[in-house]
Amino acid sequence: MFGKKRVAIVGAGLTLFRRNLKETGKELAYEAAKMALDASGLELRDIQTVVMGTAPDAFDGVHMKGEYLADGAGARGKPYVRVFVGGGTGVFTPLAGWWHVASGQFDTCLVVCEEKMSSCFPHPAYAFTTIFDNILARPLGTTLIWIFALEMHRYMHKHNLKKEQIARVAVKNKKNALDHPCAQLGANITVEDVLNSEVLCWPVQRLDISPTSDGAAALVLASEDVAKKITDNPVWIDGVGWCIDSTLWTNRDLYYPDYVEYAARMAYRMAGIKNPPKEIDLAEPYDPFDYKELHHMEGLLLCRKGEAPKLTEEGVTQRDGDLPICPSGGLLGVGNPIAAAGLMKVCEVFWQLRGEAGKRQVPGDPRTGLAQAWGDLMQYGSVIILRR
């Protein structure tokens, strides 16, 4: 037993993901939170605590973003905290919600993630340049994609991979997203389309990347006794893990995310999972770039190092394959409002395990699913394992 109480997810909510939504961040947070509450059958007065996840303040140009969003998250007059671990935030936020309830301190927790990237001009990538080391890196004229390109290229070099093998992920996820009602970039594209798209920072091309997006997502968590009273089909949070590596990323071999493996091992230990590829029925690893899905499958021990491209090629990771990966359509297809995108993945696993994913439903009556997010200077991993 980890924690004093077992924790369930009893409701989920999600807004559309779009390049530019008219709603403010606060309004988006409200919409997602309200939907999750309605789905759970609870009302705000039943919620004892609220955990908010949202990424850099620089996107919005709003300082104290956690405080700014509090009303939208239903937090007024309640114990409330905003958590932030870069791109890892969307999966870390329900982990923080988990410990609020698992500690025995609260019986119900509303988890809300929001991101609005469209407010930043000329492009949110410009706000991202502040991620780089201020003394050593920024004077070189850095742009965000450099770190992904350097990591992707190292990964390709180490395993002798071709771009076509990686492009298959973009093709799969954008196709999966055609069945997602909130998706921004669902499409039928080909490997050739990816290979012929504009080169931004070789080997990263336009169609290797997820879009910038606005959106929000929410979950309602409940302790076991409350969950069993309000629903017949709770989905349990049976594993949690998180880990950080050094910001000195030029001192690490970027071909493999050790920190993701450490986070995954923590979560598997808690869930009693010995053989992840056999025991995980579907997974939503973080896919802001196509190679990241492969990189993370390996870090999550869902296959051996360098084996993920082969599994993708063989169709194992398709929705009807042996190990469906990103059945939602992922960040590449549904969109990437940073914190909300990570929580969208947890929503997807929740819906899949309840058999409510509609056209996206993976076959075989899945019982165990995993979601993972990743962030900062290629250094943060957050992992959650759900069971029905």
Partner: protein, 173 residues
Amino acid sequence: MSEKIKSYPGFRIRTADFREGKVPYVAYRPKVRYAWSAGIAMSRFLEELKNGRIIATYCNSCGRIMVPPRVFCEECFKPADGWKHVKDTGTINTYSVSFIAGDASRIKEPIIVAVIDIDGASPGMGILHKIGEIDWKEVKFGMKVKAVWKPPEERVGSITDIKYFKPVKEETL
């Protein structure tokens, strides 16, 4: 409940509508600037760059010679044991060819960026810098490179005192 929900909230607007003033909005440009003290380790590193040299720190517990230098070893969590000059040559660990600038605007002449593992430091101790004097199609993993310094009078104590690293033949090192 995905399949039970019939419509999802969110009202899409076109970015062009912002630019053309067709939707109400408020614009703001923050007027702040930053100046950072480079700190204990980095100040020494930058001063040495001005002298045309790269300096590391080392830790006697784990035996690592660390670039960029730091005053404490993050693995052993103890003070570094001293300073040590390393070479201004190294090996390309990974690289990218950038066709975009910091604000994601397109540039004509691509920038080659690389992580360069520095000779004389422990294996895998790299720094981020640019590669020059080579066509981007010719760059290779494992290529030996050497720093091209600005003339002494133009150096200011910045990472840009090194203009870029250029490929060199192994035997010339």
